[in-house]
C-alpha cells in the first residue's frame, strides 16, 4: 500500500481475514494455480508486451529491408514470413490479449466486484493464450512461419501453394489463441451484466464497462467465423477436403468472407476498449462529467452492430455486383457516424471543462489527431473507385496503422500511464513520459504519413524490394527513419515503466482526482479488491462520496469479511443493479493449466500429423473440463449445504438463475455464430461455387434423421419439464429421469452416427460431402456433450449435489439441449430436406 493510506485496526483485521480466503498461493504451485483476475490481467498484459516487442522487432526488420531499393538484407521467403508474422503477432498476440488483460484487471474494480464471475475460465484463457502464442511464434524460429499475409488468403495459403507447415502453424495457433479471447469475451459479458455493485443500474455504469461489454459481445459473435474458416482450411490442408478448391466444388472467396466477417469487426473490437479508455480519462482531466453519456452509449452500440456490415469493403476487387458494393460502401461510411459522435462528445467535454495536460492526456491528444486522420482515410477507402485505385498498396498499410496504432496504441499508453499508480502505488515520470510520447508521435507520423504518398505512387504491399527507377526511394527512407524513431520512443516509455517502480514518486490516493470505483481501492489493490461491497447511486461514486475508500476498507458496506471461507460476490439484476443472490466462486486450481496443456498437445500433434495423440489430448482436455465442472454448486469444495449460508439473498447455487446459466447462454451465442457461419458456408457454396456438385438424392437417410431428431426432441422436452418441476421444489425420481434423458441423448447420437455411416460420404472428392461431414460432426459433438452432461447431472442428483435445494445446474444443461434441438432441425432441414425439396441435383 502507498504510504498515504493508513488502515485502521478494524480494516487490518478485515484485510487479514479476506486475504486468507482470497489470497494467491505462494511458490511454484501459486504460479500455476492462480485464478485471481488482478494477477491474471497483469499476466495477460505482460505477455502481450513481450509479443508487442517481438512484433516490433519484426517491423524494424521490414523497415530495414525497405529503407533502400534493391536490398538483399532479407530473402523474399524470409520477408514474407516476417511481414505475415508482424501482422499476426500484433493483431492476435498483442492487441486483443493486451486489451482483454486490461479489461480483466479493471472491470471488477470499476463495477464494485471482487473478481470476475468465472475465475478458472480467466486462468484457462491465459494459459491458452500463452501456449498458443508460443507455438505460433516458434514457427518463426524454426523458419517455417506462415508467409501468406496475416489474412491467409486462399489459394495462396492452401496446400498447393503453401505446402510447408507455415499455414498450419497459423491456423492451429490462432484457433488456440482464440479460445482465450472467447473465454474472456464470455466471462466479461456475464460479469458486467450480473455482478455490478448494488444500485449500479445500466444507466449508472461506467462508460468503460459499456465499451468492454460491447467488445466482449463482439468477440463472442465475431471470432467464430474465423474459427470455422480455420477449421475448414486446416481440414482441406490436412485431409484434402476441398472447401476452398474450385475443382472440388469449393470456392476460395468463401475464405475471404469468413475471414473478413471476423476481420472487420476485429478492428472495432480493438478500437472500442481504447475509446473506452479515452472516454474514462477525458472527464477526469477535464474535471467534469462527460457531455452526452447517452449519446456515447448509443454510439458504442451502433459501432458494435454496423461494424459487422462492412466486411465486403475488403473485397471490392473480387468481382461483386455494383449494387452490393454500393450497400457496403454506404455502410462503411455509416460507421463513421458513431465515431464522430464520440469525437464531438470528447471535444465538448474538454471545451466545457478545465483540461489538465497531464501525461495521460498527452497520449489522448495524440490519439485524437492520429485516429481522426485514420478515420478520414477510412471514409476515402469506403468509396469503391478510390478503393480500386489504392487496393493492395502502401496507402492501405498507412491507413491500417493510423487506425490501429492511433486507435489502440496511443489510448493504451494513455491508460497505462493513468492506471500505473493503481497497479504499483507509484507515479510515472512526466519527463521520460513526455520524451517517449513525442518520439513515438513524431516517429509514427514520419513513418506512416509518408507511406500514404508511397502508396499513392503505386508501391504495392508485401513486395520485398523495389527498383530505384520507381521513385519510391526517398519516401521509404523517411518511413524507415520514422520507424526507428518510434521504436526509440517506445524504448523510452519502457524505461519509464521499468524505473518508476523504484524511482517513481509515491502516489497519493486517487492521484488524478478520478470518479470511478477502482480509485477507492488500496494501491496496489488487495486480492479481494473490496473489503466490503459499496452501494452505488450515481455515475461518479468517488466525486459524490470522496470518503468511500475508507468506508469500504473499514467494512462499512455489504458482506464484509470472509469468516465462512467462501469467495463471495454479489449477483445483481442486469438492468437495475438490485441484488439477487450471493455468488460463490471457486478458489485456486491447477485444472485450467492442465486442460490448456492438453489442448497444447492437440495443437502440436495436429502440426506433427500425430492424430492418435491429438485425439488423446482432446479426450484428456474433455475429462479435465468435466472434472472442473464437478466442483460446483453444493460440492464440498464449492459451497456444501450447511447452516451458515445466507438466506436473503441466497447463494446462487440455491437459485434457478445464477451466473452459470448466463455464461452458458453467452457461450451458446458464440456457438450460434459458428453455426450460422457454417450455414452461410453451405448456402454460399451451393449458390455461388461454379463446380458445386449437389447429388440428385441426399445421401442422408431421412427416417434415421427423423428418428434421431425425435429422440432429441423427447429428451429436451422431458428435461425442460424436470427443470420446471425442480423450480417448484419437486425432486422425486430426479436421478432416474435424468438418466433416462441422458439415454435419449445417447440414442440421438447413435442414430445420427448410423445416418453418417450409411451416407457413404466422399469428403475428399466434393465440397458438398465435406460440408455435410462437418455439419454432422458438429451435431454429433454437441449431441454427445448434451448426453454426457445429462448423465453427470443424474449422477450428481444421486449424490445429493442437485435437487430441490440445489436446483441450479439442470437449468444450465437444459440450455445446451435446447440449443442442440434448434441447430439439429435447422441443419437437417438445410442439408437433407431443402435439397430434396428444390430438386437441386443434376
Amino acid at each position: 500500500m502507498s504510504e498515504t493510506m493508513r488502515p485502521s485496526p478494524e480494516a487490518e483485521r478485515l484485510h487479514r481475514e479476506m486475504e486468507a480466503v482470497w489470497g494467491n498461493p505462494r511458490g511454484w504451485r501459486g504460479l500455476f494455480s492462480v485464478v485471481n483476475h488482478s494477477t491474471l490481467g497483469l499476466r495477460f498484459m505482460a505477455t502481450g508486451l513481450v509479443f508487442f516487442l517481438l512484433g516490433g522487432v519484426l517491423a524494424m526488420l521490414v523497415r530495414t529491408q525497405l529503407a533502400l531499393p534493391d536490398q538483399a538484407f532479407m530473402s523474399p521467403e524470409i520477408y514474407a514470413q516476417v511481414t505475415t508474422m508482424h501482422g499476426t503477432v500484433m493483431m492476435f498476440l498483442f492487441a486483443i490479449p493486451m486489451l482483454e488483460g486490461l479489461a480483466i484487471y479493471l472491470i471488477p474494480k470499476m463495477i464494485g466486484a471482487r473478481d470476475l464471475v468465472c475465475p478458472r475460465l480467466t486462468a484457462f484463457g491465459y494459459w491458452c493464450y500463452l501456449f498458443g502464442g508460443i507455438i505460433l511464434f516458434a514457427s518463426l524460429l524454426l523458419e517455417m512461419a506462415p508467409d501468406s499475409g496475416w489474412f491467409m488468403y486462399t489459394p495462396l495459403s492452401s496446400g498447393e501453394f503453401s505446402p510447408g507447415r507455415g499455414s498450419d502453424f497459423w491456423l492451429l495457433g490462432i484457433t488456440f489463441v482464440e479460445i482465450s479471447a472467447l473465454s474472456a469475451g464470455v466471462e466479461l459479458t456475464v460479469s458486467i451484466l450480473r455482478t455490478r455493485a448494488p444500485g449500479m443500474a445500466l444507466h449508472r455504469m461506467p462508460l468503460f464497462a459499456w465499451y468492454i461489454l460491447a467488445m466482449a459481445l463482439m468477440i463472442v459473435v465475431g471470432f467464430p467465423p474465423l474459427i470455422l474458416g480455420s477449421v475448414l482450411l486446416e481440414l482441406e490442408r490436412a485431409a484434402g477436403m476441398p472447401f476452398f478448391t474450385v475443382a472440388g466444388g469449393g470456392d476460395p472467396i468463401l475464405w475471404q468472407h469468413l475471414f473478413w466477417l471476423f476481420g472487420h469487426p476485429e478492428v472495432y473490437i480493438i478500437f472500442l476498449p481504447a475509446a473506452g479508455i479515452v472516454s474514462t480519462l477525458i472527464p477526469v482531466f477535464a474535471g467534469r462529467p462527460i457531455v452526452g453519456y447517452g449519446w456515447v452509449v448509443a454510439a458504442i452500440l451502433i459501432t458494435g452492430f454496423i461494424s459487422f456490415g462492412l466486411w465486403v469493403h475488403h473485397m471490392f476487387t473480387v468481382g461483386i455486383p455494383q449494387l452490393a458494393q454500393a450497400f457496403f460502401s454506404a455502410a462503411s461510411m455509416l460507421v463513421a457516424v458513431p465515431t464522430a459522435i464520440q469525437v464531438f462528445v470528447w471535444l465538448a467535454t474538454l471545451w466545457l471543462g478545465k483540461p489538465r495536460m497531464s501525461l495521460p492526456m498527452l497520449w489522448v491528444s495524440g490519439f485524437l489527431v492520429i485516429f481522426v486522420c485514420g478515420g478520414l482515410t477510412g471514409v476515402m477507402l469506403a468509396l469503391v473507385p478510390f478503393n480500386w485505385q489504392v487496393h493492395d498498396t502502401h496507402f492501405v498499410v498507412a491507413h491500417l496503422h493510423y487506425v490501429l496504432v492511433g486507435g489502440m496504441f496511443f489510448p493504451l499508453l494513455a491508460g497505462v500511464t493513468y492506471w500505473l499508480p493503481l497497479v504499483t502505488g507509484r507515479m510515472p515520470s512526466e519527463r521520460l513520459g513526455r520524451l517517449g510520447f513525442w518520439l513515438t508521435f513524431l516517429g509514427f507520423n514520419l513513418t506512416f504519413l509518408i507511406m500514404h504518398w508511397t502508396g499513392l505512387l503505386g508501391m504495392p504491399r508485401r513486395v520485398y524490394t523495389y527498383d530505384s527507377a520507381m521513385g519510391w526511394d526517398l519516401y521509404n527512407l523517411i518511413s524507415s527513419i520514422g520507424g526507428f524513431m518510434m521504436a526509440a520512443g517506445v524504448a523510452v516509455v519502457l524505461v519509464d515503466l521499468l524505473l518508476h517502480g523504484r524511482y517513481g514518486r509515491s502516489a497519493p490516493r486517487n492521484p488524478w482526482g478520478a470518479d470511478t470505483l477502482e480509485w477507492s481501492l488500496a494501491m496496489p489493490p488487495a486480492s479481494y479488491n473490496f473489503a466490503s461491497l459499496p452501494r452505488v447511486e450515481g455515475r461518479h461514486p468517488l466525486w459524490e462520496t470522496p470518503t468511500l475508500g475508507d468506508e469500504i476498507a473499514r467494512g462499512e458496506h455489504a458482506r464484509p469479511g470472509a469468516a465462512h471461507g467462501r469467495r463471495e460476490l454479489l449477483g445483481s439484476e442486469a438492468l437495475t443493479g438490485r441484488v439477487r443472490e450471493v455468488i460463490h466462486l471457486p478458489g485456486n486450481s491447477l485444472l485450467p493449466l492442465y486442460a490448456a496443456l492438453c489442448l497444447a498437445v492437440v495443437c502440436v500433434s495436429l502440426l506433427a500429423r500425430l492424430y492418435p495423440l491429438a485425439l488423446l489430448g482432446l479426450a484428456g482436455a474433455g475429462v479435465l473440463l468435466l472434472r472442473w465442472s464437478w466442483e460446483n454448486g453444493g460440492h464440498r469444495r464449492a459451497a456444501p449445504l450447511g447452516h451458515d449460508e445466507p438466506e436473503a439473498p441466497p447463494l446462487h447455487s440455491r437459485t434457478a438463475d445464477g451466473p452459470g446459466r448466463w455464461t452458458m447462454g453467452v457461450a451458446l451465442l458464440a456457438d450460434g455464430a459458428f453455426f450460422l457461419s457454417l450455414l452461410f458456408g453451405w448456402f454460399y457454396l451451393w449458390t455461388v461455387s461454379p463446380e458445386w456438385q449437389m447429388p440428385s438424392r441426399s445421401p442422408l437417410s431421412l427416417p434415421l434423421l427423423l428418428a434421431s431428431g425425435a429422440a432429441l426432441t423427447l429428451g429436451t422436452l422431458w428435461l425442460e419439464r424436470r427443470v420446471a418441476a425442480l423450480k417448484r421444489g419437486r425432486e422425486a425420481g430426479l436421478a432416474l429421469a435424468l438418466s433416462a434423458i441422458a439415454a435419449l441423448g445417447g440414442l440421438h447420437v447413435a442414430l445420427l452416427v448410423m445416418a453418417l455411416l450409411g451416407a457413404g460420404l466422399a469428403p475428399t472428392a466434393t465440397a458438398h460431402d465435406a460440408t455435410l461431414l462437418v455439419g454432422l460432426a458438429y451435431l454429433l459433438g454437441h449431441g454427445g456433450l448434451a448426453a454426457v452432461l445429462a448423465a453427470l447431472q443424474a449422477w450428481r442428483a444421486g449424490l445429493g449435489l442437485v435437487g430441490a435445494r440445489l436446483p441450479f445446474e439442470p437449468g444450465v444443461v437444459a440450455l445446451l439441449w435446447r440449443y442442440q434441438l434448434g441447430v439439429y432441425w435447422i441443419l437437417a432441414a438445410a442439408m437433407a430436406l431443402l435439397p430434396r425439396l428444390t430438386g437441386a441435383g443434376p
Binding site: Q322, L323, A324, T576
Partner: protein
C-alpha cells in the same frame, strides 16, 4: 408470451438492441437476397434499376423503415413520461431506432439507381 411482452416494452434493455438488430437483419436479407436472386434469375443487363429485384428490395426497405420509424416514435413517447433507468433506456432506444432508420434509408438508396447484378 409474458417474456416477449416484457421485452417489447419501450423501457426494456432489449430495445437498445432491437433497432440495430432489425437493421442487421434487413442488411443480411438485402445482400443475401440480392446474391441469391442474381444467381437464380438475373435480369437483362439493359433493364437498369427498373427490375423486379430492385422492386422487391425497395419494398423490403420501405417496410423496415416504417417499422423502425414507428418504434422510434413509441420510444420517444415512452421516454417523455418515464424517469430514471426507464427513461434512459426508452430515449436511448428511440435514438438507436432513429439511427437504424437513417441507416436503412442511406444504405438502401442505391437500390433506385443501380442495376442489381452487374
Amino acid at each position: 408470451m409474458t417474456v416477449l411482452r416484457r421485452w417489447w416494452a419501450p423501457s426494456h434493455p432489449a430495445q437498445l438492441l432491437l433497432g440495430l438488430t432489425l437493421w442487421s437483419l434487413w442488411f443480411v436479407v438485402l445482400y443475401g437476397g440480392l446474391s441469391v436472386a442474381c444467381a437464380l434469375a438475373p435480369p437483362r443487363p439493359g433493364q437498369g434499376a427498373f427490375t423486379a429485384i430492385n422492386g422487391g428490395l425497395a419494398l423490403l426497405t420501405l417496410a423496415t423503415l416504417a417499422l423502425l420509424g414507428w418504434l422510434a416514435w413509441r420510444g420517444l413517447r415512452a421516454g417523455g413520461v418515464s424517469v430514471g433507468g426507464s427513461r434512459f433506456i426508452a430515449l436511448t432506444g428511440a435514438g438507436l431506432h432513429l439511427f437504424s432508420a437513417a441507416g436503412v434509408a442511406f444504405v438502401g438508396l442505391p437500390i433506385v439507381t443501380l442495376p442489381p447484378c452487374l
